[in-house]
C-alpha cells in the first residue's frame, strides 16, 4: 500500500467519523456546545496546520546558522576547479 493510499484511508476514516457525529444520521443528539465545536473542526485542523507550518518556517529562518568550514572548503574547491580549467584552456 503506497503512502498516498495510506493517507487517503486515514483521511477517509476521520472524515466519516466527523460526518457521523456532525450530520447526525443516527439521531443521537449531542449537547449544543459540542455540536457547535464539531462543525468547523476540519477547518480548524487546516488552520492549525497552516499556523504550525508558518511558525516552523519562521523559526528555522531565524535560527539558520552559517557553515563556516563548509563555505571555506567550497570556495577552495571552486578555486582549484577554476585554476585547473584555465590551465586546460577554458576561458573565464
Amino acid at each position: 500500500m503506497t503512502k498516498l493510499v495510506q493517507w487517503l484511508c486515514g483521511l477517509a476514516l476521520l472524515g466519516t467519523a466527523w460526518a457521523t457525529l456532525a450530520l447526525d444520521p443516527l439521531g443521537l443528539h449531542l449537547p449544543l456546545p459540542c455540536q457547535q465545536v464539531l462543525w468547523p473542526f476540519p477547518v480548524y485542523l487546516l488552520v492549525a496546520f497552516g499556523c504550525y507550518s508558518l511558525a516552523a518556517i519562521g523559526y528555522r529562518l531565524a535560527t539558520f546558522n552559517d557553515c563556516e568550514a563548509a563555505a571555506k572548503e567550497l570556495q577552495e574547491q571552486i578555486r582549484e576547479a577554476r585554476a585547473d580549467l584555465s590551465r586546460r584552456g577554458l576561458k573565464f
Binding site: L32, Y44, G58, A81, R88, L90
Partner: protein, 127 residues
C-alpha cells in the same frame, strides 16, 4: 568544452560532505581569478533582518492560533452574556474567512505560475 562536473571527477576532488583531506595540487595559484561572489556576513548566523522576520512569523502564527482556538473550541462553552463574546466575530465567519483566504492563496499561486510561464515562453523555431 569540458563540463565542470567531469573535470571535478577527473581531479578526484572529494565532495565536502565527506571527511577526506584535500590533495593540494602543485601548480601556481596566480590564475585563481576573482573570488566567487558569495556574500559573507560578519555574524555567524542569520542576519538581524532574518531574525526579525522569522520571529515575527512565529509570533503572528502563535497569535492567530490562540485566537482561532478560543473562537472555535472555547467560546461555545461560555455563556452568551459573557463580555468576551464581543471580541470575536459571529461564528459563521470562522469557516468562511479561512476558506476564502485559502482560495485567494490558490489564486495568487496560480497567477504567479501563469506569469512566470508566460515570461519564459520561447517562440517556436522554424528549423
Amino acid at each position: 568544452m569540458l563540463s565542470l562536473c567531469s573535470v571535478v571527477e577527473l581531479l578526484n576532488i572529494p565532495n565536502y560532505w565527506g571527511s577526506q583531506h584535500h590533495r593540494v595540487t602543485g601548480h601556481a595559484r596566480s590564475e585563481a581569478g576573482p573570488s566567487p561572489p558569495i556574500i559573507e556576513s560578519s555574524r555567524k548566523g542569520a542576519t538581524a533582518m532574518d531574525q526579525l522576520v522569522g520571529f515575527g512569523l512565529v509570533a503572528f502564527s502563535l497569535l492567530l492560533f490562540v485566537y482561532y482556538t478560543i473562537w472555535i473550541i472555547i467560546l461555545p462553552f461560555i455563556d452568551s452574556d459573557h463580555g468576551i463574546h464581543k471580541f470575536f466575530l459571529p461564528r459563521e465567519y470562522s469557516v468562511t474567512i479561512p476558506v476564502v483566504a485559502g482560495l485567494l492563496l490558490v489564486l495568487f499561486v496560480g497567477v504567479f505560475i501563469v506569469i512566470v510561464m508566460w515570461k519564459n515562453r520561447k517562440p517556436a523555431k522554424t528549423d
